[in-house]
């Protein structure tokens, strides 16, 4: 499986993503600079976490218009799986590949901690390593992770079963205290209509090796490799 990681000025999780991908695929991903108009043939495109363009204007807004993104959007629309983590999720909403927007955390604070997530969809390419209802631990590290969409969009996401992960407590319950950033409907990650684009604020690549204190994130990359090899 050939993966590509897009690197923007200000990305800071690109190498973490590359390590997790290499562990799962056995080969290093292509690292593609944002200014490149060419993107190698890829089975998976990853938009990593970080603070692309210093979060100028709005998180992800500038990156969404960088040269390489025109090609990423084209590939995503043609069905190539795209995974956006944290800033990558923000970029995906700014390109409108995913609906909604990530607003400033309700607390106005940058939050860096491990959170519990409930797996809502285990049948997508990204989540087949989990079972529906699993409670997993991923770290979050963001100030703009407060998922917002209008009521119609939220109803559509719920109705089409496109919410992949929700913030929850240790037991899998959705409680206000378990929602770190004020996201509507406890949304931590969503899929596009075809299930080929996933955006999520938490970082699977940061808990993908026992040396990091957990491996819940590794299942996402392993599952992706299995699904793309199938």
């Amino acid at each position: 499986m050939k993966a590509a990681v897009i690197v923007f000025p200000g990305s800071n999780c690109d190498r973490d993503a590359a390590v997790a991908l290499e562990a799962a695929t056995g080969r290093p991903p292509a690292m593609v600079w944002h200014g490149d108009a060419e993107l190698p043939a890829s089975d998976l495109i990853v938009l990593p976490g970080g603070f692309s363009y210093g979060d100028y204007l709005r998180s992800g807004a500038m990156a969404a218009h960088s040269p390489v993104m025109r090609e990423v959007i084209k590939r995503a629309k043609a069905g190539t799986p795209v995974l956006g983590i944290c800033n990558g999720f923000q970029v995906l909403t700014e390109t409108r590949l995913l609906p909604g927007v990530l607003m400033r955390n309700a607390t106005l604070r940058f939050i860096c901690k491990d959170v519990h997530l409930r797996v809502e969809r285990a049948d997508s390419r990204f989540t087949r390593g989990y079972a529906k209802g699993d409670v997993v631990t991923f770290p979050i590290a963001h100030k703009d992770g407060n998922y917002f969409a209008d009521v119609e969009t939220l109803q559509r996401l719920e109705g089409e079963d496109r919410i992949a992960f929700r913030y929850c407590d240790r037991g899998g319950e959705l409680t206000p205290d378990a929602n770190p950033n004020g996201s509507r409907n406890y949304i931590a990650g969503i899929l596009n209509e075809t299930g080929t684009v996933l955006g999520l604020m938490p970082h699977p690549e940061r808990l993908a090796d026992p040396a990091l204190g957990g491996t819940d994130g590794a299942k996402m990359f392993k599952g992706l490799v299995e699904s793309l090899a199938a």
């Binding site: 204007l57 400033r104 004020g182």
Partner: protein, 81 residues
């Protein structure tokens, strides 16, 4: 021409920064302050002399980049530079 562009949050979109600013105004004794909303302001020089063409350019700038129309409204004024 010169465009003065204002971006504001749509009514109903929660604005935690505006709320915090409102709290700070109250703490300073400005009890009259209410419903504070934070927005953005841009000045852009547009290399167009025809107002209709300049307006069309600014519209596109707002829609494609300056505002996220999911949560924000935009308004602008044009004047001869």
């Amino acid at each position: 021409m010169k465009a003065r562009i204002t971006i504001t949050l749509k009514p109903g979109v929660l604005d935690p920064q505006g709320k915090a600013i409102e709290g700070a105004l109250h703490a300073l004794g400005f009890g009259s302050a209410g419903n504070v909303r934070q927005g953005k302001y841009f000045e852009v020089e547009v290399a167009e002399t025809d107002p209709a063409r300049a307006r069309a350019e600014v519209e596109r700038m707002c829609k494609e980049l300056l505002a996220n129309t999911i949560i924000e409204n935009y308004a602008y004024e044009l004047e001869a530079a």
